[in-house]
Symmetry: C2
Subunit: 171 residues, 2 copies
DNA sequence: GTTTCTGCAAAGGTTTTGCAACAAA
DNA sequence: TTTGTTGCAAAACCTTTGCAGAAAC
């Protein structure tokens, strides 16, 4: 659940890109960094540091929280991973920006679902606004907070059901 | 600096709105809450809890950090204040949503300036996207990260200068 | 062999909370 | 008088960091 079928080729791309970054910076490739990448890009879900730590420990129990935090910094720095603000307390990380560099997020207040979406008009509008204000575009993050139609209509939402059953996404 | 000339009438509106909220919930009006409101809405700048605590202590030195945090929660709950994510570590609060309920933020990576803007097209687009994905709009937050044209062109930015001189906005 | 990396535990910074005294209604 | 509120200090929480040993080059 939550794991992509075609994650394997993606992970090779990621590994290569990190290796280049490591070489350029005179850093070292380690077993821990490989495991953390495997965990981080073996899912298409967003995760926080604690969740990634749990995922890595399923592969190698000895990996420490500190190493997870340090590697997350590295992965963000070399642009393999992006920080996303989902309106929760911790920093979340999104492994899907390699596939879809321009996507944004809709967050449901009812069922906590996070839906990714792309829209070409947004980029154009962002350009206009930025220039109008005397700046140049650097990046953007559009977060839409929404209410679940399914819940409103039927009184139940499949995602909320799932969340309650598995205890996932609790915060 | 950073204080609005017509803050006084605004504060009366705020006080009234909080009073209604307090009455409806069976809470109490206190000296501390009055002071915190005076500080929070006596500026048009965004602030974090620590900064608001400093501002209140200029009016009444005895007000504690805990009360500031608790009152911030109250003000957000009754929609007088809104939390904004400026990409920094702490939560910031924006007192300008009463005046401009639909505004968004542009944040400069060069000079840390935060510019508020409104744009009617955004609301329309947000509606389209939300409905397309099977949700109903609840709220949105668009954050544009930009680069300062002034700095790029002239090698200096008035805001950056000011920031360095006064030590404001440091983080 | 040198330099980077790791795990541990401790520290850092922000926000929340338990509690006894206090103030509002 | 009752109930909500405050200030203090401690706790909780996420994240970073110092250090000695281990691993990569």
């Amino acid at each position: 659940m939550g794991f992509s079928m075609d994650a394997a080729p993606m992970i090779e791309t990621v590994r290569q890109q990190l290796e280049d970054f490591i070489a350029a910076k005179g850093l070292r490739r380690t077993k821990q960094r490989d495991v953390i990448i495997e965990a981080a890009f073996g899912t298409k879900e967003h995760f926080n540091a604690e969740e990634l730590h749990d995922m890595t420990r399923k592969i190698d129990r000895s990996i420490s929280r500190a190493t997870v935090y340090r590697t997350l910094g590295l992965l963000v720095e070399c642009k393999l991973l992006r920080e996303v603000d989902l309106g929760r307390d911790q920093t979340f990380y999104d492994p899907n920006f390699l596939d879809k560099p321009e996507h944004n997020h809709l967050i449901c207040v009812d069922c906590d679902r996070v839906v990714e979406f792309e829209d070409d008009h947004i980029a154009i509008m962002e350009d206009c606004i930025t220039k109008r204000l005397g700046f140049s575009p650097a990046s953007k993050s559009i977060r839409i907070i929404a209410k679940c139609d399914q819940l409103e209509r039927t009184g139940a939402c499949s995602h909320l059901q799932k969340t309650l059953e598995t205890g996932a996404n609790r915060h």
